[in-house]
């Protein structure tokens, strides 16, 4: 619940391979299927309505309950259709001009209420997502899709406005297929009030049977109409009010899975005979962003408009130490607006060094001189600024206090401005801050870059809250996004990252790893960066290791 979710949040990062059904072992002897996985989640979904729900828990439920046309592969490739696995669409063919794709739907697909899924549902869902009344934040991601039309009951044609490397990804992966027959009457400006928002009816491998607010969400494997069933019977999300309680439920055996173990609790998981630690890369990174303009937006920021000051402050911070203090070994130092796991990463990029002496020299050179109280001043103005951070994020609160002290040592008076999440969102999008501790989960593909650091995104309404602008950076990003060749794309991005680093647009802090605690009886599949639940439908619990709650009484799984 604490992540910064303004970007192209992951309808993007996808889930799972129902598709692996094609080569999955057929459900063999009786007893090979069964079991309940209890996931302790720290956040209640706001509602289960894919176009407008943004919380992580909602995304997890959606990925189990609803289908997309096709899903991104484990390589996280977003260019062309490489690596994509079929979901609702069994296959697809490209038009010769690459400006349209024809999808053929799975004829056996059906809604959980028993009706078949038809091409009209796909066209309806696209229309729903892109209707301004819906106000889905996926709408802009779908902007390059000119139309999605049904040509017969099982065939859908998607047409693109322009040829783009990520065109297929955008249409196939970025929206869920919703039931037209249950939503066509709904008021699109109040989708949250639709009955479907609390009791979804999808076509995915699991269906929602109960949602008791503040308590749990129960999903049961859907076996109606001859669907090939998943190895598990049941997935329960038990809702805890905060991450600590959620974690403790796993430690005490009340739950099986906790998705974000904190560094200081890792030893506890290792020592627990029932649990194992599943560590993998993630797509998150966090940073201290500078605001290059004043809060009013009209004038350059009196401190951070100066590139020298930004570089000095970056060099004044022991980023390695901060990362080690907060995450121990469960994060690596971030080097730019990307993570090691993403296809946009540049492993050769070196960050600015940690060098307090150089930082002091640079600040002196920039005219900020130490006064009697050891705070620097320039033209009588003290070097003082706020660090905006959401109080709901422990890691960022920690980072704020650590940075505050390190800034103090070079003569900077920084204030920690910890505010609750709504205030944080408000102030960041209104750009009313000096510096901001942000954590972003970008798109696995290169598209997200365009929306966070370019001049275009610095315009009002964009996500470049710090107002960073550099035409040569923009040019490299544009060239990258126009590349169909992965190598050229990466070369352009590497140059863009270099420019961003030299300009010290932000102090890049950490790439936290994904650290999960999972009950030992559960066999997991590979964990996908940014979406550990992607393979959840294929997790299994061997029959001989099942415990009491794996054998629900009659009536649980039908």
């Amino acid at each position: 619940m604490t992540g910064f979710r303004l970007l192209r949040l992951l309808p993007l990062v996808v889930a799972a391979s129902c598709a692996s059904g094609d080569d999955a072992p057929p459900s063999a002897a009786a007893g090979s299927t069964g079991g309940t996985i209890v996931i302790a989640t720290p956040g209640e979904p706001e509602y289960l309505m894919p176009p407008i729900a943004l919380s992580t828990t909602a995304r997890q439920v959606h990925d189990l309950v609803y289908q997309r046309l096709a899903r991104i592969g484990d390589s996280l490739n977003t260019l062309g259709d490489g690596g994509f696995t079929p979901d609702l669409a069994r296959r697809w063919t490209w038009a010769d001009d690459s400006l349209s794709v024809t999808f053929t739907l799975d004829s056996a697909a059906h809604w959980h209420d028993g009706l078949p899924v038809r091409a009209a549902d796909v066209a309806f869902s696209f229309a729903l997502y892109t209707d301004p009344r819906t106000a889905s934040n996926a709408a802009t991601i779908l902007a390059n899709v000119a139309s999605v039309t049904a040509t017969d009951s099982l065939t859908v044609v998607a047409r693109f406005r322009t040829r783009r490397p990520e065109a297929f990804y955008e249409v196939a992966n970025q929206f869920f297929i919703l039931p037209e027959h249950l939503l066509k009457e709904a008021d699109r400006s109040r989708l949250a009030a639709s009955p479907l928002a609390t009791m979804p009816v999808g076509s995915g491998p699991f269906r929602v049977t109960r949602w008791v607010p503040t308590q749990l969400i129960e999903l049961i494997a859907d076996t109606t109409a001859g669907r090939r069933r998943t190895p598990l019977d049941r997935i329960l999300f038990t809702i805890a009010p905060d991450p600590v309680t959620a974690f403790t439920r796993v430690v005490t055996g009340e739950a099986d899975v906790f998705e974000a173990v904190r560094p200081d609790r890792v030893a506890e998981v290792r020592a627990n005979p029932n649990l194992r630690l599943v560590v993998g890369p993630s797509l998150d990174y966090n940073f201290l962003g500078f605001n290059l303009r004043e809060a009013s937006g009209r004038a350059p920021h009196p401190i951070f408009a100066d590139r020298t000051v930004r570089r000095a402050l970056t060099m004044a911070t022991d980023r390695r130490g901060i990362v080690a203090n907060i995450y121990d070994s469960l994060a690596v130092q971030a080097r730019g607006p990307f993570t090691t796991a993403s296809s946009t990463s540049d492993p050769t990029l070196t960050p600015l060094p940690y060098a307090v002496d150089s930082a002091n020299t640079l600040l002196d050179a920039a005219g900020w001189l130490r006064g009697a109280d050891s705070i620097r001043r320039k033209n009588g103005q003290p070097l003082t600024f706020g660090i905006l951070t959401p109080s709901s994020s422990n890691a960022r609160m920690r980072a704020a206090v650590l940075l505050q002290e390190q800034f103090r040592r070079v003569g900077v008076d920084a204030r920690v401005e910890s505010v609750d999440f709504p205030s944080f969102v408000k102030r960041s999008s209104n750009r009313r801050f000096d510096t901001i501790l942000s954590q972003w989960t970008p798109d696995p593909g290169p598209g997200g870059v365009n929306e966070q650091w370019t001049s275009a995104a610095a315009a009002p309404g964009g996500n470049n809250f710090g107002n960073y602008r550099n035409p040569s950076f923009d040019a490299q990003v544009d060239s990258a996004l126009a590349s169909f060749q992965p190598d050229t794309l990466r070369a352009h991005l590497a140059r863009a990252w270099r420019i961003l680093t030299d300009d010290a647009a932000a102090i890049w802090l950490a790439e936290p790893k994904s650290v999960m605690a999972v009950h030992k009886r559960i066999q997991t599949t590979g964990i996908r960066p940014g979406a550990w639940w992607a393979g959840l439908a294929q997790w299994r619990i061997p029959a001989d290791q099942r415990i009491a709650r794996d054998r629900p009484a009659a009536g649980a799984a039908r």
Partner: protein
């Protein structure tokens, strides 16, 4: 002129009774000790309370000769923080209680002396304040004005705490309004203000003193609670509440961070309630008090 049957002469007797009460003496001793400790203590410390000694190697160091109470997650010396946090906690609580006492007394006096519909309206407002849990009220206010500086926190704590004292004062005023000495003063032409300050106030000062003493205990816990959840005293300033809060996440692996400030809180609240009880007994030794 007829003097109110108070209090100047009584204070001597009250002090006498307090001195005879071991519990009160102990409480006063503990409180004074704590105050001296938090005023003098920080001056003697080798580390500043905000100084992060070594964030990679000294975080959560166990208590040792070097760090008597260990270090916290930011590698800051816990003892230094507890001492300087005590200054903040005690100062905040005492100032807030002063504010709430002044407002409460003024409100109660005004309502009690005014009588009639003004009295009714003023008391309904106090009732309204009493009927909302104070924590919720503060949470709502602190959501509206996030990151308040400390003086503002004090004011907010004071503004949300006077309802009880106002009610107490008002009911005392009602009970002495028709007492002989007040009637006499009034018939001699004393102005309402003079009447309130000179004749009624001394009479209610005893119960108010007791209530204010006990209120220090409530407020210090309240401030600690707010700081505990991160919306009270802001970093890097320490208060007992936010030190406990800093340690909560690590209570299993580094319990020393939260234990010391917690104990300090218990001692202060204990001393304050014991003193409140003692004062009450000293003020009304015969007929034991009602509330």
């Amino acid at each position: 002129m007829i003097a109110p049957p108070s209090n100047a002469s009584n204070w001597g007797a009250i002090v006498q009774r307090l001195r005879a009460d071991r519990r009160s003496l102990l409480a006063i001793g503990a409180l004074c000790g704590m105050i001296v400790l938090v005023i003098v203590g920080p001056l003697l410390m080798a580390y500043a309370p905000y100084e992060q000694l070594d964030i990679t190697r000294l975080a959560h160091a166990r208590p040792s000769a070097e760090h008597l109470l260990g270090t916290d997650v930011y590698s800051r010396d816990v003892l230094s923080r507890v001492l300087s946090g005590g200054r903040v906690s005690l100062a905040v609580a005492m100032s807030a209680v002063c504010i709430e006492t002044v407002i409460g007394v003024a409100w109660g006096l005004a309502a009690g002396l005014a009588g009639g519909w003004i009295d009714t309206l003023m008391m309904r407002c106090a009732d309204a304040g009493l009927s909302v849990p104070r924590v919720l009220l503060l949470l709502a206010i602190l959501a509206a004005v996030p990151m308040v500086p400390i003086w503002m926190l004090v004011v907010l704590l004071g503004l949300t705490g006077w309802f009880g004292i106002a009610r107490l004062v008002r009911s005392e005023v009602r009970s002495v309004r028709s007492a002989d000495f007040v009637l006499a003063a009034r018939s001699l032409g004393a102005s309402p203000l003079r009447l309130a300050l000179w004749h009624v106030l001394p009479h209610v000062s005893g119960p108010v003193l007791v209530a204010a003493t006990l209120a220090v205990g409530h407020v210090i816990v309240l401030e600690a609670g707010l700081s505990f959840i991160g919306i009270g005293v802001q970093p890097p300033q320490a208060s007992w509440g936010n030190i406990i809060g800093d340690g909560t996440e690590f209570i299993a692996s580094a319990p020393w961070v939260s234990i010391a400030p917690g104990c300090c809180l218990v001692v202060v609240v204990l001393a304050v309630s014991a003193l409140g009880d003692g004062l009450r007994d000293a003020l009304a030794p015969r007929q034991l008090p009602r509330t």
